[in-house]
């Protein structure tokens, strides 16, 4: 397909969509009988509900069913919970689980910590807006782009060659041994986690900064009149006041971390024992061709996400109720 072809196809698709939607709406708006509102609701909601049903609900159910079946593409045999057993006993899969645990523990805590510290440090300072934009910027960058950016930081050259990676050059300047950051298991996982922290800290900073600014001034004034300041004020006034936001940030980053795929794919291709659940799902299904195991992994991600989301929603409700 040529460029012009693609653009034409795009315009056709958009036009088609709006023509269809407009005619549905125009046809149904004339109905004024008692059942009219029901028909109109169907016109407004129908397309969305249909797409969600066919594209989300039905596939999710099929995935659960497939996870109980073997690897074969055609007529895979029913194997019960064997895929899940593999997932928790196979040594390779156990490394995947270990890495996932590291990611899920470290990323939310460290990015929230840095985001909070930065939000406090930069609050009402002269270059607040600019300083925030700097930390915030990585959110707009794709995880693929971010991983390439960090490949330039981690790059390693053996022996006495000149280093092209910044981090190894720093080690050279400090007269320390160079290190192959993306290769050495298990440390490489930590260096991949740094990439996601780099992306998520800006998100944490933005949300927390907004809720710090929302702390009523009289509370702070009262505390200061009582002679509380500095670290104590932070510990006993600031942190408790923004607790719901802190939890929302932590859980939101946790959910994103559980689904991290792009960074592992770009930085190491899942090699050198850096695979995580979301990457392993892709590898098992589209590279190894083991659909049963892949769908089982997807279900495990699903199950792990549910309690975090429920907790997240409860905290959001609390935030709203304020």
């Amino acid at each position: 397909m040529s460029t012009a072809d693609k653009l034409v196809q795009m315009v056709i698709a958009i036009a088609l969509f709006y023509v269809v939607m407009a005619s549905i709406l125009l046809l149904t708006q004339r109905i004024r009988s008692r059942s009219g509102e029901r028909v109109q609701a169907a016109a407004f909601l129908g397309p969305s509900i249909l797409l969600i049903g066919v594209g989300l609900l039905y596939p999710a159910c099929v995935t659960v069913w497939q996870s109980l079946h073997g690897a074969a593409t055609f007529d895979p045999p029913f194997v019960g919970l064997d895929n899940y057993k593999d997932l928790f006993t196979d040594s390779q899969q156990l490394t995947v689980l270990r890495n996932t645990v590291l990611w899920v523990i470290l990323t939310p805590i460290v990015s929230t910590g840095i985001g909070l510290a930065y939000a406090v440090l930069i609050d009402r300072s002269r270059f607040e807006k600019f300083g925030k934009a700097l930390i915030f910027m990585p959110i707009a960058i794709s995880m693929v782009g971010a991983s390439i950016i960090w490949k330039f930081v981690y790059a390693y050259k053996a022996g006495d060659q000149e280093q092209i990676g910044l981090l190894n050059q720093v080690l050279v300047w400090l007269h320390l041994d160079t290190f192959n950051f993306l290769l050495e298991d298990p440390w490489n996982t930590f260096f991949l986690i740094v990439i996601l922290i780099w992306i998520q800290a800006g998100f944490a900073m933005t949300i927390l900064s907004a809720s710090i600014k929302a702390i009523p001034d009289d509370i702070v004034e009262a505390a200061r009149l009582d002679g509380i300041g500095g670290w104590k004020l932070f510990r006993y006034i600031t942190v408790p006041s923004i607790r719901p936001s802190l939890i929302v940030v932590l859980t939101t980053i946790t959910i994103a971390t559980l689904k991290v795929f792009d960074i592992v794919q770009t930085a190491t291709g899942g090699n050198f024992n850096t695979s995580v659940l979301a990457y392993e799902f892709y590898r098992q299904n589209f590279v190894a061709g083991n659909q049963g195991l892949a769908t089982a992994i997807a279900v495990v991600i699903f199950v792990l996400v549910i309690p975090v989301v429920l907790y997240n929603i409860r905290q959001m409700r609390k935030l709203e109720a304020r």
């Binding site: 989300l56 009402r124 915030f136 794709s142 390439i148 300041g229 004020l233 770009t266």
Partner: protein, 317 residues
């Protein structure tokens, strides 16, 4: 997912006359102003250096990039546009990024417009129409937000390849528009639950009297939606639009699963560059920069809406 009313925007204007100290300002004071500034500056520099290094690398000649680090460009400055030319045209062996840039644009525009339009309609119905089972349906849509896309990918691909009821397959060699419909549809599906939920939150805040008086004047739902709701909803639509734009533009997984090589976006191309030409650092640098310059411009230009969307909870898992 927080209510927009209850959140305070970070760039909200502060009273000019003797601003009272916030908790953060007071805490910072305790750390003694100077230490605080130094730590903040350190974090800011640490966060900026990697991107800056990539930018500098992308303008260095190939030989230099492969031989030593980007910081050498300060002592021995020599810059060129060759890397960008090579990245766009493909240079020695392999296709250029320009095709993928077009693909990214062609994928992204409908994948932003369609879900937002559908979600605005659905949100209106949930907010202002009365029909049986409305609340249950809304809770169901809300709950489906938690489904990770991994759970849906495999069966969804099967539906595209081999649809029921003799429908036209959207994947494969004879797929319409070279398989672009797969991507548009998938991004739409994955965006809908969150989009409906968020826009519904915004819509509930519009005063009901406005709708009621319009109804008394004989306006139907379609008129109310078009004449009253859409203009009022524009900020919210913009906020979610930016998120959906960034999500689709930066997506890798959906594109890897559903796009044929002919229509693969920038992210997919970059990953394959890393795999096949991982030592061509100059190409990686310029390629990565091409992919991130458009979202960065959008982000910088529309930061206000972006932050508002973020505070309203448009963070897709």
């Amino acid at each position: 997912m927080t209510d927009i009313q209850t959140t305070v925007l970070p760039d909200a204007p502060t009273p000019a006359s003797a601003p009272p100290k916030t908790a953060a300002a007071a805490a910072r004071e305790g750390l003694s102003g100077r230490t605080a500034s130094v730590v903040a500056l350190l974090i800011a520099v640490l966060w900026t250096i990697p991107t800056f290094g990539l930018l500098v690398s992308s303008f260095r000649p190939e030989a230099d990039v492969k031989q030593n680090g980007w910081w050498n460009a300060f002592t021995d400055p020599s810059f060129t546009f060759d890397n960008y030319r090579e990245a766009f045209s493909g240079g020695s062996g392999g296709e250029g990024l320009s095709t993928n840039l077009i693909n990214s644009i062609v994928i992204t525009i409908p994948a932003v417009l369609i879900p937002i339009s559908l979600a605005t309609l659905a949100a209106y119905a949930f907010a202002w129409m009365r029909f049986r089972g409305r609340d249950i349906l809304f809770v169901a849509v809300f709950a489906l937000q938690i489904v990770p896309i991994q759970v849906t990918l495999v069966p969804l691909l099967q539906i595209y390849v081999d649809p029921p009821f003799g429908l036209l397959p959207l994947a494969g060699r004879d797929a319409p528009a070279g398989g672009l419909y797969e991507l548009w549809l998938s991004h739409t599906i994955f965006a809908l639950p969150l989009a409906i939920f968020l826009l519904h939150n915004f819509m509930r805040e519009i005063p009901g009297e406005l709708i009621e008086s319009a109804r008394v004047d004989g306006a139907g739902h379609v008129q109310i939606f078009g004449r009253i709701m859409l203009p009022l909803m524009m900020p919210a639509i913009a906020a979610f639009g930016i998120f959906q734009f960034l999500w689709v533009w930066n997506d890798l997984l959906v594109a890897l699963v559903f796009s044929s090589p002919e229509i693969s976006p920038l992210t997919v191309k970059l990953v394959s560059l890393v795999g096949e030409r991982g030592q061509d650092w100059q190409l990686l640098a310029s390629g990565a920069f091409i992919s991130l310059v458009i979202p960065l411009i959008v982000f910088l230009a529309l930061q206000r809406y972006f932050v508002r969307g973020l505070l309203a909870g448009s963070v897709k898992g």
